[in-house]
Symmetry: none
C-alpha cells in the first residue's frame, strides 16, 4: 500500500514514516503543500496522511481541492487542534478519519489498517436533515429527492450552520466565516444569502433570532 505523508514537523514525520515502514507499507514524505500537489499528480496513493498546519497554507484547502477534483483517496487528518469544530471541518471536507496529536504510533497503525480495511468503496456519505439529504463530499443536496445546487457562498454559509447545529451564530460571526479577515461588508449581505438559502432549501432550514443572529432549524 502506498501512503503519502504530508507533515512539516521533522521529528513527528520521521517517527510516522518509520512506523509505517515497520508495518511494511511504502511511504512518501513531503513537508509542504506544493510538494504534496506534485506528489499526488505524479503517483497514485492508497492513503494520505495530512497535517493541517503547514508552512504554505492550511491542509484543509488541499483536501477540499483534491475532493473537488474528484479524488477519492482516503485521507486521515493529523491535527494538533483538539477541537470538535476542526474534526467536523475535516470530515466535512472529505476526510475519512482524524488523529489528534499527540497520538500513539500504535493508534496510527490501527487507524491506517482500519481505513484500508474499511475502504472498499462505499458510495456516498450523506447527512439527513429533515427533507434534505446533504452530500458534503460531492457538494450536492437533494431536497425531497430533487437535487438542488448551491453556490460557493451558499455552501460556506450552510456549512457554518451544519458544523454548529443548534448554536446561535451572529451576523458578525457569519461574516467572519465567509470573508476571512479583510473584506468588510457594509450591507445586508448575510441577510440576502440567508434568504437565498431559504428559498433553495426551504424556509425552515435557518431560523432567525431577531437582534441576535441565526441558527440551524430543528429539522
Amino acid at each position: 500500500m502506498r501512503i503519502l505523508l504530508i507533515e512539516d514537523d521533522t521529528v513527528l514525520g520521521a517517527a510516522v514514516r518509520d512506523q509505517i515502514a515497520a508495518d511494511g507499507q511504502s511511504v512518501d514524505w513531503v513537508n509542504r503543500l506544493d510538494a504534496a500537489g506534485d506528489a499526488v499528480r505524479g503517483a497514485a496513493y492508497d492513503l494520505i496522511l495530512l497535517d493541517l498546519m503547514l508552512p504554505d497554507g492550511r491542509g484543509i484547502g488541499f483536501l477540499k481541492t483534491r475532493r473537488a477534483q474528484g479524488d477519492v483517496t482516503p485521507v486521515i487528518i493529523l491535527t494538533a487542534l483538539d477541537q470538535v469544530s476542526d474534526r467536523i471541518e475535516g470530515l466535512n471536507a472529505g476526510a475519512d478519519d482524524y488523529l489528534v496529536k499527540p497520538f500513539d504510533l500504535a493508534e496510527l497503525s490501527a487507524r491506517i489498517g482500519s481505513v484500508a480495511r474499511r475502504y472498499n468503496g462505499n458510495p456516498n456519505p450523506i447527512i439527513e436533515h429533515g427533507p434534505l439529504e446533504i452530500d458534503l463530499a460531492a457538494r450536492s443536496i437533494r431536497r425531497d429527492g430533487k437535487s438542488v445546487s448551491l453556490t460557493a457562498r451558499e455552501w460556506a454559509l450552510f456549512e457554518a450552520f451544519l458544523s454548529r447545529p443548534g448554536q446561535l451564530l451572529s451576523k458578525a460571526q457569519l461574516e467572519e466565516k465567509l470573508y476571512a479577515f479583510d473584506a468588510e461588508v457594509e450591507s445586508n449581505t448575510i441577510e440576502v444569502h440567508v434568504s437565498r438559502l431559504r428559498k433553495k432549501l426551504g424556509s425552515s432550514v435557518i431560523e432567525t433570532e431577531r437582534g441576535l443572529g441565526y441558527r440551524l432549524g430543528k429539522a
Copy 2:
C-alpha cells in the same frame, strides 16, 4: 478507570469486555438503553462505549440526553454504520470519538487510551440552574428539557444576573447594563423585562427585594 459498555451484540460485547479487562480497566456491560440509564444514574463512569443500534432505541438519543443534562463523560461510539453522516451526528451530539465495526481490539484499546489522555477540557460550558440548562455560547436555554428562546434584551438582562449570582442588583444598575450610557428610560422597563423573563424561565428565577432591586433566585 470505570468504563460503561452499552452493546447488545453478545459476542462483540464479551470480546470488548474481555479486552478492556485485560487492559486492567473495570467494565460494566449493559445491553439496553434503559439499563444504561440506570447505570449512569447509579455510578460515575470515566468513559462510555456506546453502540448506536440497540433493541430499545438509537444510542444517539441517549447521548444527546446525557449531554443535555450536563453530563460530560467522554463517549466513544461503536457503530456498524460506516457513514460520515453518523460520525458527524455523533460528534455533534457530543461524542468524543467513534469506532466503525468491525474494529481491532487493539484499536479499541488505543482509542480508549487516547480519549482518556486527551480528555481534560469541557466541550460545552453548560450552566445548570435549577430546572434550567443554559448554554451561553449557543445562546440556548432548556427548561425541564424543553428549549426556550429569549430575545436580545432578555439575554442581556439574564446575563447580568448570571454574571453576579446571588448579588442584589438595583434597577439603576440593570438599566446601565441594558442601555449603555444614554439611559433614557423613564418607565418601568426593567420591571416589564423581569416579568417577561419570569414568564419564560419560571417565576422563581429572579427574586424581588422590595425597594432595593432584584437578585438571581436560589435555584
